[in-house]
Amino acid sequence: MTQTTPAPAVTMTSAAAAAGRGSVVRAYRWEIIKLVHQWRTRAVLGACLIGPFLFVIALDQQDRVPKDTLYGRFVHTSGFALALMLLGFCAQWAFPLLTALVAGDIFAAEDGHGTWKTILTRSHGRTHIFTAKVLAAMTFALAVLLALAAATLGAGVLLVGDQPLESVTGTPIAPGHAALLVAAAWGTAALPLLGFTALAVMMSVLTRSAALGIVTPVVIGLLMQLFTFLNGTDTVRHLLLVTPFDSWHGLLATHPFYGPLLHGSWVSVGYIVICLAVAFQVLRRRDITGG
């Protein structure tokens, strides 16, 4: 990324004279402003902040526990376990949708509104617009992750309590250390989440349809879950984008292990690079004349 960031107060003429296009930073800022003003992004972020609290309240109404998810059996005994159980739950069903809601729409929306010509002929080239939109979609994905992590940890500690956490090997972890580990565990979801962001960006560019851009990554995520659920070959499973979502288990062991985390990071980066490269090539070659 070449960011020769000029002073923000560049006049239109001098900017045009400089390169015929504005900086990535300005395009990025504009994309963020657009996102902030969409009801959808606000609703998703709000839901991520409130959802975990509602979940805990609903959970308190019944004495059964969601044992099928790791840490589900401890949701009433430790707030940290609740945060980890919700991480496992989000990884299975929510993460692809949460990021695709913005990333799957961010390119296709310009097709939908017929505004490609407008934004490209202003002062930004395709590379700048592409970079800015991808960065905006990734920013939103990370904001969602941060909101969810903070809300689940908050809901767990405030409504259940900060009792010691069981490790995945059956030893108690002190509350202070547990809080750090829970935060780190949520952090490991960032790379695979950005992988789904890149996938949604690619679908948004390829299909030119916001609906398909949002739905396709979710369906792909579900198919990957199905493959895992049906006990598909480990060789293929290691290459799926949903597998790295489980790599935090190693952090919670008495003797932590990082092999799956490292492997999952490479897989996630692979998805990000390939999906963004395809999306960029397609967008760069597209014949944008009709508007």
């Binding site: 059956g170 963004l276 490269a277």
Partner: protein
């Protein structure tokens, strides 16, 4: 991020190129992707994540930890996990089709261990092993008691060893 930008074609001597149209680039990308995927497949080939040695090593570590917790609840604190000396022997399925690898809810582990009083015990554990190298183990009720147990003070609590989860490293 190394996104290839529109570079000038190498042989731009005669034909003025008006647009980004070198068809080699996506093909090269596709090729690179295929090679990378194939390499990854080959590298990971033949390695099942859930294996008998990994499962046995994990259960030998996790079961004593929960057993010690249960003994403490029952009024016998101070038992060390190492003193339990758990030695599991695990098999998946039964009969000639037993493979001893892979995820499934048909893993059976026979565990020899020393109980809180130092007496040798043997119990059959049923394990549901997930592909992600985590499992849920169900312990034999006649050895470890029911889902809830009564503490010496008369309080009913969840029996930590009746059913417990464990995870192991699938890469080592």
């Amino acid at each position: 991020m190394t996104i290839p930008t529109a570079t000038t074609p190498a042989s731009s001597g005669t034909v003025p190129v008006t647009g980004p149209q070198a068809p080699t680039r996506p093909r090269r990308l596709l090729l690179a992707g295929t090679v990378a995927a194939a390499a990854a497949v080959l590298a990971a080939c033949g390695s099942a994540d859930v294996t008998r040695p990994r499962l046995e090593a994990s259960l030998a570590q996790v079961f004593p930890n929960y057993y010690v917790q249960q003994q403490a609840l029952l009024g016998h604190p101070g038992l060390a996990p190492a003193a339990v000396q758990a030695r599991p022997t695990c098999h998946r399925g039964s009969g000639p089709t037993a493979s001893d690898t892979g995820a499934g809810s048909d893993w059976i582990c026979v565990v020899d261990y020393l109980d809180g009083a130092g007496k040798a015990q043997e119990g059959k554990f049923e394990l549901k092993v997930n592909p992600n190298a985590c499992y849920t183990a169900g312990a034999p009720t006649k050895l470890v008691g029911a889902a809830t147990i009564q503490t010496p003070t008369g309080r009913w609590v969840t029996n930590p060893v009746f059913e417990f989860d464990g995870c192991f490293d699938p890469t080592r």
